[in-house]
Amino acid sequence: MTTLPKQWTSIEELAGDPAFAKKIAAEFPVAASFPPTARRDFLKIMAASLALAGLTGCEKSPFVAGIPYVDQPESALPGVPRHYATAVTLDGYAQPVLATTYDGRPTKLDGLPGHPATQGRSDVFMQAAVLQLYDPDRAQSPTRAGEPVTWTDVGAMFSDQRREWQKDGGKRLRLLLSQTTSPTLVRQIRELQSQFPAARVHLHDTSGERERIAHAIAAYGEPLDLHYQLDACSVVVSFDDDFLGPGPRQLLNAIKWAQARRRGDVPGIQLHCAESIPAATGAVASYRLRAAPSRMPHLVETLAARLGVVGASVNDLSAEERRWLDRTGAALNAAKGRALVTAGLGTGAQTARWVAQINETIGASGQTLKLTSPVADPGVATASLDELVIDMNTGQVDTLVILDANPVYTAPGSLDFASALSKVKTSIHIGLYRDETGHRGTWQLPLTHDLESWSDARAVDGAATIIQPVMTPFYDVRSRHQIMAMMLGRDQAADESVRKTWRDAFGESFDAKWQQALRDGLVAGNAPEIQATPVSGKIEPAPPGADGSDIAFRLDPTVWDGRFANLGWLQELPKPLSTLTWGNVVAVSPAWAREVEVENGDVLEIDIDGRKVSGPAWIMPGQADNTFGLWLGHGREQAGRVGDGIGYNAYSVRPAATPWLAQGAVRKLDRKETLAVTQLHHRMEGFDLVREVSVASPTLPAPSPQPSLYPPHPSAKNAWGMVIDIDSCIGCNACVAACTAENNIAVVGKAQVEMGREMHWLRIARYYVGDVETPRSYFQPVPCMQCEDAPCEMGCPVHATTHSPEGINQMVYNRCIGTRTCSSYCPYKVRRFNYLDYRYTPEAPAEPVHNPDVTLRSRGVMEKCTYCTQRIQAAHVAADKDNRDLRDGDVVTACQAACPTRAIVFGDINDPDSEVSKLRRSGRHYALLEKLGTRPRTTYLAKWNDGSDDEDDRT
């Protein structure tokens, strides 16, 4: 994968071109006549016809149809993957990707190598985007009041509307946008407003970008984006800011964090984290303080006072808080110019101002903190959702166009958007799904998926990417720009408006630059840096927390704000700390659980000024007392067959005024829910599964030699091995998601996960040590250890699992008879068994997304991590064809490619210069369960214990 040419492929050679479409259509002439709902079956057939590998056993007939092209395009080479540079979006930000397609089917996305914002790495949302492309529950044709209509009807509707709007300059027209960074869309919105000056544009985003800007304005007096330069830091202080957690910025932050962490022989960066609800950032912190959200403003102000910020006064502190602040203040003073302080959304504007002041004092600006004008800029003045709802309720809105948003579901419960919507004469919902809003709107206009769209977007660092389609749409859908063009009274080809935007931008020699941009997946140049100073003047003391408990809202780490609720891959992805799948919980502190006698799964009722919601409890070790965590994104009603009715809907109790932190009451109901968690036991029980080194003793004791009674088997030229750096792992799950996409991992559904039958080949074991109040957390990715003396292999009675000369523990599905001996002999329990036929469950991913180089496993066979053997074989073939040896980096496993912190390194351990060999010589290197003498090929680098080992941090 990494040996790809720097230049991928440009539009002229798109495999998703008409020739391919013709071939498909020709293979299934009926396809054209299918009603949209029958398209899924059509897709199945299509996928099957493309010789998708499956463990079908014996053929029905020995002779099957072989269907050539009528006129084969030069580009199309059956069975050979092709790669395209494009982007998918999250919260409107571009996630630049390299799309892998087989015979015109996108099957896998990876971060775009060489792009500053991804550097070839990915997160879970990027990995799952390709599955959304094939989601059978996507809106498949425009509808009016639920009845299918044609785009001609839509055109007619818009021209009628335009006549209305022209009367009063669009006074009664409202456009509700979600967060966007698309220059083309911005241009179109501008044009719309120039046509209808009286029309108003409202912005509704679920991920808190508006609050970010608001905080920036409060702190610096102007709208800004704050870009953390973690790679330039040696000390970072976070006040409930989960910057390593999921979201558009996770990737960039994690990459830079890892760079800083690996600087030098000892950890190059230390993190001090005051955290209410445990998350990735707190888990990797060297010094973690457990603090309720409402305490944050006081802590920040005190820290400011310690650092001599004028006007800052010292608040009264607990012993625990004081100890942490002492150490943190000292660390900041010692690292001026190499330090950074950040604050989360829930901590309020005052905190933001203090933080700005502190960063000014410690010389962060320009060094560790880069300021730019907002990357996500709608281009016109926008009003908030609250104002829109007021206008709707007072009947001032005739036409409401909702572009790519689902306010009926995501609007704070206090607004009751649904009833407001019913007062609007004509509401037009433009979105990927006919979701809660689409069902209530008058019109629903289906959007193309990013992978079928012509569009553009900016990454979080401001760099723009031109989004090119890697596949022709197979539903009757249009891109947002086409629909905007219709609103503007034009009917345009998919790429026309995008080309126009960039024709203006590129000026002369457009074609060359355009081609270049498509090939690179990147438009040169990004957002310019801005010098801004914090606004001076008195900072109001934080308002005393109202009575009641702190109730913090978080976006779900796997289904985000709910937009991914219908993707089985993400629903079944274990959440980073709880390993929960298929639903959300109410996180409670261990102390409270003891006091109220709550166990995991007991249903709690949350009451926020009168609005109630109930969900199962989860006791979160290390959670601040009197604090409760609610996760948004579940409890969908119109998500689709996979996402409907899973978990509870936290939006319904979310207050519009303070969307991230509220005060409320929690009580225990006498109901219990079973939670589908993939790891039931989190305490390490004194085993040395995760080992630690400290600055004092940076190397582990040398492993005791393992005498083997067996004569060594000769190794091939290459001997594959993997080293996983536990210190770098932030538990983001990107590796698991990537493995799922690459290896056709089955989605088994909630019931099966509850029974303990999830199929992930790679699990991120999560442990904690210490007391449950202030534990120390660890993430340990566990793939197959590929033991050289594998206990599993000698257990198999039919030679279904054997050892390759390259040291891979091979599992041959089509030979397996399912005795499960291998699994019961496996000390690491990394093997997964198909207890039932998981290929065609309701949750199962649509077939076309499957990787044709990997067999689909049928019922009754064992499976396990193969080190992505299909990639190894592909690399071998490529090398053998040129009659050369493999080079380090020729083979990159899916998990390795995805990992944002480069914690996973794979390669040839026979080659002393390979990266993996170097790591195996490290002082932190150890093998899991070494004493068993299984001689694993997958090994680990111990975690750095820099700080929290001294007892007084655990009080």
Binding site: T56, V64, I67, Q72, A716, P805, Q810, V877, D880
Partner: protein, 218 residues
């Protein structure tokens, strides 16, 4: 007491025992044989094709190279069936009105692919790649047989795992110079093993590593 059984009863009993035992043995042998029969391996059967295409005519008599039609064979895993356009390069000039070729012309005009019936097909869980076999000097004829003598195409070899293994264990007898890959009639001058060994050394075949499972199964 009188006899319960007549003297013949013993004969019958012995016959029954012998018959039963031999029946068991026979059925075992039969089963093993059946698994190798052309019925199971579907060899020597020329399935119906939309156009009665004759490899004997095109390869044997006209001497068209395999790669002219199966163009992807050196570049990708699949050899590929010729797109209609390829057929028409000639048949737009000759046999332009042959009734036999009507489906081909129809395919072009209606832009609908021909639905050939695949003759050489492996199970889904076998990941065979043409390109690497070609690159390492395995000739077409080795697996596909003398297609230049086939009026209608059939599977010449039983594609059993044993068949693959034999060659993967010791490829040398089946290797040939790169320029003879598509040659249906080529025979090595000397003993095939000597030449094969030289070729194997030259193209760098990783002998000994070709029989482990992941080479073909994933």
């Amino acid at each position: 007491m009188t006899q319960i059984f007549s003297p013949t009863a013993d004969t019958w009993l012995r016959l029954a025992v012998v018959g039963f035992l031999s029946a068991c043995g026979a059925s075992l042998v039969a089963a093993i044989g059946f698994a190798r029969s052309s019925y199971v391996t579907s060899t020597d059967i020329a399935p119906h094709q939309p156009v009665p295409f004759s490899h004997r005519h095109h390869v044997g008599e006209l001497g068209i190279d395999c790669r002219y039609c199966h163009a992807d064979v050196e570049r990708g895993p699949k050899a590929g069936l010729p797109p209609t356009a390829t057929c028409m390069t000639c048949h737009s000039q000759i046999w332009t009105h042959a009734a036999m070729l009507a489906p081909v012309r129809q395919s072009l005009t209606e832009n609908k692919p021909l639905r050939w019936t695949r003759v050489a097909k492996l199970p889904d869980y076998v990941f065979f790649r043409h390109d690497i076999h070609i690159a390492k000097g395995v000739g077409c004829v080795t697996c596909h047989g003398r297609v230049d003598t086939m009026p209608l195409t059939y599977r010449a070899r039983a594609f059993t795992m044993q068949f693959c293994l034999d060659c993967h264990r010791d490829p040398t007898p089946n290797l040939r110079p790169a320029d003879k890959i598509t040659d249906m009639t080529w025979k090595p001058a000397g003993p095939p093993r000597d030449l094969g060994a030289r070729i194997a050394a030259h193209v760098g075949i990783r002998s000994g590593e070709l029989t482990h499972c992941y080479v073909c199964h994933r």
